[in-house]
Amino acid sequence: MWALQSKGKNSWIEERKQLGRALSHKQCHVQYNHHLEFSRGCQRLTNHRPRQLARLQRSVLPAYPSERVEYTQLVENVKLLDRYTNRRAASGTLYLTATHLIYVDASAEVRKETWILHHHIATVEKLPLTTAGCPLLIHCKNFHVAHFVIGQERDCHEVYTSLLKLSQPVKPEELYAFSYNPKMSKDNREIGWKLIDLKVDYQRMGIPNDYWEITDLNKDYEVCSTYPPEIVVPRAASKATVIGSSRFRSRGRIPVLSYLYKENNAAICRCSQPLSGFSARCLEDEQMLQAIREANPGSPFMYVVDTRPKLNAMANRAAGKGYENEDNYDNIRFKFIGIENIHVMRNSLQKLLEVCETKSPSMSDFLTGLENSGWLRHIKAVMDASVFLAKAVKDEKASVLVHCSDGWDRTAQVCSLASLLLDPFYRTFKGFMVLIEKEWIAMGHKFSHRCGHLDGDPKEVSPVFTQFIECVWQLMQQFPCTFEFNEHFLLEIHDHVYSCQFGNFLGTCHKEREDLKIFEKTHSLWPFLLQKKQELRNPLYRGFTAYKELQPNTLPFSFQFWCGMYNRFDKGMHPKQCVLDHLLSCMNQKIKLEDNASELENKLPFLDGPLPSEACYLSKVGCAASKTSMLNTPQDYQGEPPAVLSNGISVGDANVTSDVEQKNKENLANRRDLHRNDSVDVLNSEAKDGKPQHH
């Protein structure tokens, strides 16, 4: 509906009528004018509540300059119910903009806004009419649940139908990313897209080398339409082998390299299921696997891991697909690891969310619900499979070929997690971005379908990526000092996978993104995230070299329910004091103090020895300081000059986020981008800083 922008007044009114509202033509005119008025600076409203709207003007108008906001809807006297308690509901005004639903709480003393991105809306439900009004229940893909009560049934229906349309765009061009404009120069946008270069990551692994090469066999997507143009295959595999193998693999997704463990040349490779049926075989495919095995001379065998339950794999044989016959391939060890399919996962999450939404459940209800949802069982299955891969590579020095059915869901989960376990680089900001770009985006995880970006088949939607993010969080719980980033970083990425604000996750594969002209028309998420590094980092991070491979405990008690994800917007459930926030403020304070100290040191004319008081203190903290040298603080691994922090902007923004509950991060970004032309410079230096790390 926001596409109305260009249509002008009459068509707007036509649309209105089509919506089935029994409005007279005149009424429509009035409304339209009213909306225009609102968009021109909220003058009418400003007269009523100047103080309250001051913020809205700031929030909305810079992002949506008046001439661009063509469709806005406003409903007053809307209540927002608290999800768990019967506390007096907030009362305020609901605004619909082109991209967001904004609720401004007028009853609170402190101004409170709730922002919901239309793309984040999973379902909108109109509940039966109550005495208080017409309830509207909105479930979001980031697990936000908003329960509005709108006084007039008519208004409610209007909002309902609008939201239905707004939250389910039909054409890709309608997605937010194509209209999102942070006023960044073209050059900077291109630099942003080049921030993550997969070739650099392959170089880091030592590829090309004697055994592996980067080939452009797929440059015209002839080998496989869902793979990127450049893929890594064994040097020993000829073109004929590759082409031949592609004919024997579902959707042409041939075995390619995912990760090479440099220490012993064992590799993780990925593909889709073979078209083996009950007895078919393919010489080229067998050669392909042989080439992969021989690329790791240290091991006489390789693993072939089918991540599906055996039953599912066997059922596929009837459809001419299936799994590798151990007799047909030399020296492979075949293994099933039963991770369930996307449909099981979707239902599991549904059950989990029902448990999370239960009003004041008993402990027993909750634990039983958690068990019945099977969610943690699935998380554990994914983790177990990844641990198996990592152990095979590191301990058994054997290469592993992984597939599921199409090799873009379970395979992506398992390969990326195994890499994360093996390589500390992937636990840095940059590395994690590379990992997602490589294993998920480039290799054709169908984000668009799995996240339901467009109005499509609901059976294609599944929380595959959510599970990956949760597995990383579970690892963070076991290894608090090994990740450069913190929980907020994961949540931020998870938000943007659904937000469609940035181009990275649009479409289903590289080819489709090229067709959509993503790289010309939209922005990349990664520079935006790097800019917020200060609030997304892990203060406990001990640096790149402190830990190498991780061996997580996978006994059931090692997996926790992630309240911060699935009950993220129910603040009352979270710890009231946050260790992470406390430590982050400590880090900021530290930089200020260090500046102060050096400044003062310069002022002091004599500073040959420590001051008497200082010496005394030094002896006190001496043990702490000497154990781990002062240089070895996490701060030093940021590779960032303190100047970035001391410009004060990030601190100011942090305050804004803290005092506005459920602040929509995208919009923060808008403002920041608008107000900071220097942001890109930071970005550039980031990109430069990042590169040496690869070597």
Binding site: Y84, R87, S360, D384, T554, Q577, C586, V621
Partner: protein
């Protein structure tokens, strides 16, 4: 330590410790193995307390401050008496004669004398009369604790008890009685002589029932939980269902909820609270001590927490020796064993987990306390109450845990680097999503803690380094100030320095303010939720009350009758008075002539008094009658029940007799039939024989 033997070709001893650790020893030589096993068995199951380690332990450290005298009640009372004079120390129990499980000194309302206390003690289970547990300085509300009143089935009352309980209320204020048993359990307790305060006699108090489990139910829960944690199975469903089935987390939630409720009554509702269960030595103490942690910032410091343990657990008479005898691996079922204290520590950990910056101590401190409660070289947790401890002469013969803990070098290990004192009430969330399994105790031996320890270390380092920097900056500032004043520099620079300092301070202050604000905001949200939970609880209670009403109808009828009578009484008195006034006037008029007004009045007064007395007598008689009626009714009912039972029994007997008869008849019939059969068979046989004979004869006849 509990120990079990497992013998193969090489002797193997598996030692299961009270801190949940399991150690396996492989010992070559069967005989040696057996000897070691039996020694361990014997040494770990000593009969006499005086043979235990604390009596032989000789400390290797110098005692700076004797822990035995660190938390004397008199000293604690000084703090209280500086705020209010409504309370006094009573030495009524100095020889433990009034209440064997109370300490010699208790705090009671100033207006209540020892004589009253003595009478109340008789009315309360185990002599545990209501005593002060906590005084909320913010609004002067108090928390009392006691044991159940001994109302019995007759609904016995004790006016002194009512007086004592009411003495804790401010005029016009209501109070809450938190009974840690379900209403059902409380009602059942009446049959055993116990009971609960009835609204009739405690009209200013509102009773709330929270069900907190006790004894073997808790012990079984612990055993199940530990078993689940030791399960090496990779089956997620199995783990979750075992965790659920253990009910441990359910009990955590219940206890925390009850404590929050008590705290809420005091802080939010501005009402005083009396907490008790049955004996008042278990769930009562969980609730009162947790409520104090929520309300009182002092209890969140190390010293304050120790003091809380001494007051609310040791002196209050939690029977540590009975409850903490065997821990989770006990072979034999100990009747009094229960992880009451461990549950309390777990609840504290849950609050600590939700407010990581509000406690001076860390998780390690809680784990240490858990260990020492079950097995210790210190005498602190020996004995079941102060009485037993004084008999054992623990103070003279053993060392106090606090003497060791409170040494500066030991304290360092127990300090929480994140601690920033705040004076706020901290409301924990009791949603299932907010409560977690206490890994530090239950998974401690099941997985390596290296990475978590490193995180702790890293955190400590960050914070220590910041403190070091802050000190350094401040000292350099001072230095510069000094040199500048010495050199007689321009004041301008000083002003600049001051400004800088102020800025830094401001930044710090602002940060602190923000943090406090955040906490406050969170707390407001939380408080709202709590209030709602309260409401829910109240709703539930109302429902319960309705049930109660139905169940206690008889009593209430009596009450209603009484109230009606009171009203009538008043009315009658008023009428009498009015009539009298009229009479007075009339008679005064009449007697103006006679001038004998006074005499008449005296007579009238006499009459009034007499009438009053009569009315009272009548009422008392009526009351008595009512009570008697009720009792008669009960008796009648009982008799009826008995009769019914008898009838039933009779009927059953009759039936039995009838059945017996039937059976007998059946048997007879059967016998007869059998006899008949036999006879028939015999006849047949005879016939056959006859026939055979005849045939034989025939054959013989016709050769």
């Amino acid at each position: 330590m509990s120990c079990s033997r497992f013998l193969g070709s090489v002797g193997t001893i598996i030692i299961k410790c009270k801190d949940l650790r399991i150690i396996q020893l492989d010992i070559p030589g069967m005989e040696e193995c057996l000897n070691i096993a039996s020694s361990i068995e014997a040494l770990s199951t000593l009969d006499s307390v005086t043979l235990m380690y604390p009596f032989f332990y000789r400390p290797m450290f110098e005692i700076v401050e004797d822990g035995w005298s660190a938390f004397l009640p008199e000293k604690e009372f000084e703090v209280l008496s500086s705020v209010t004079d409504e309370w006094r120390l009573s030495y009524i129990n100095k020889d433990f004669s009034i209440c064997p499980s109370y300490p010699p000194v208790v705090i009671v309302p100033r207006s209540i004398d020892d004589e009253t206390l003595q009478k109340v003690a008789v009315y309360r289970h185990g002599g545990r009369f209501p005593v002060l547990s906590y005084y909320h300085k913010k609004n002067g509300m108090v928390m009392m604790r006691s044991s159940q009143p001994l109302t019995g089935t007759n609904g016995r009352r004790c006016k002194e008890d009512e007086k004592l309980v009411n003495a804790t209320l401010r005029p016009g204020k209501r109070g809450y009685i938190i009974d840690t048993r379900s209403l059902n359990a409380a009602q059942q307790a009446r049959a055993k002589g116990g009971g609960f305060e009835q609204e009739v006699y405690y009209p200013q108090w509102r009773r709330i029932h929270r069900c907190i489990e006790r004894f073997n139910i808790l012990q079984e829960s612990l055993i199940k939980l530990v078993e689940a944690c030791n399960d090496q199975s990779h089956n997620m469903d199995r783990w979750l269902s075992k965790l659920e089935a253990s009910n441990w987390m359910t009990y955590i939630k219940e206890i925390l909820t009850a404590a929050c409720l008590a705290a809420q009554c005091i802080d939010r509702e501005g009402a005083s609270v009396l907490v008790h269960g049955t004996e008042g030595t278990d769930s009562t103490l969980q609730v009162t001590s947790l409520a104090q942690i929520i309300l009182d910032p002092d209890c969140r410091t190390i010293q304050g927490f120790e003091s809380l343990l001494v007051r609310e657990w040791l002196q209050a008479g939690h029977p540590f020796q009975q409850r903490c005898a065997q821990s989770a691996y006990s072979n034999s079922k100990q009747k009094f064993e229960a992880p009451v204290f461990l549950l309390f520590l777990d609840c504290v950990w849950q609050i600590l987990h939700q407010f990581p910056c509000s406690f001076e101590f860390n998780e390690h401190f809680l784990v240490t306390l858990f260990e020492h409660a079950y097995a210790s070289q210190f005498g602190t947790f020996l004995g079941n109450n102060e009485n037993e401890r004084s008999k054992l002469k623990l103070q003279q013969k053993t060392m106090s845990l606090w003497s060791w803990v409170n040494q500066p070098e030991e304290l360092k290990n127990f300090q929480n680097p994140l601690f920033e004192a705040n004076s706020l009430v901290i409301w924990p969330s009791v949603a299932p999503q907010s409560l977690q399994l206490w890994e530090g105790v239950f998974l401690r031996w099941n997985r390596p803690s290296r990475f978590l320890d490193e995180a702790e270390e890293e955190m400590r380092r960050i914070i220590d380094y910041n403190r070091f920097l802050l000190d350094k900056v401040n000292s350099m500032r001072k230095q510069i100030m000094q040199t500048e004043t010495e050199d007689g520099m321009d004041r301008m620079q000083e002003v600049q320095e001051e400004q800088e300092e102020q800025e830094v301070q401001k930044v710090q202050e602002v940060q602190e303010m923000q943090e406090v604000q955040e906490v406050q905001e969170m707390q407001e949200v939380q408080e709202m939720q709590e209030v709602q939970e309260m409401q829910k609880v109240q709703e539930v209670q109302e429902v319960q009350e309705v049930q109660e009403v139905q169940e206690v109808q008889e009593m209430q009828k009596v009450q209603e009758v009484q109230e009606v009578q009171e009203v009538q009484e008043v009315q009658e008195v008023q009428k009498v008075q009015e009539v009298q006034k009229v009479q007075e006037v009339q008679e005064v008029q009449k007697v103006q002539e006679v001038q004998k007004v006074q005499e008449v009045q005296e007579v009238q007064e006499m009459q009034e008094v007499q009438e009053m007395q009569k009315v009272q007598e009548i009422q008392e008689v009526q009351e008595m009658q009512e009570v008697q009626k009720v009792q008669e009714m009960q008796k009648v009912q009982e008799i009826q029940e008995v009769q019914e039972i008898q009838e039933v029994q009779e009927i059953q007997e009759v039936q039995k007799v009838q059945e017996m008869q039937k059976v007998q008849e059946m048997q007879k019939v059967q016998e007869i039939q059998e006899v008949q059969k036999v006879q028939e068979v015999q006849k047949v046989q005879e016939m056959q024989e006859v026939q055979e004979i005849q045939e034989v004869q025939k054959v013989q006849e016709n050769p």
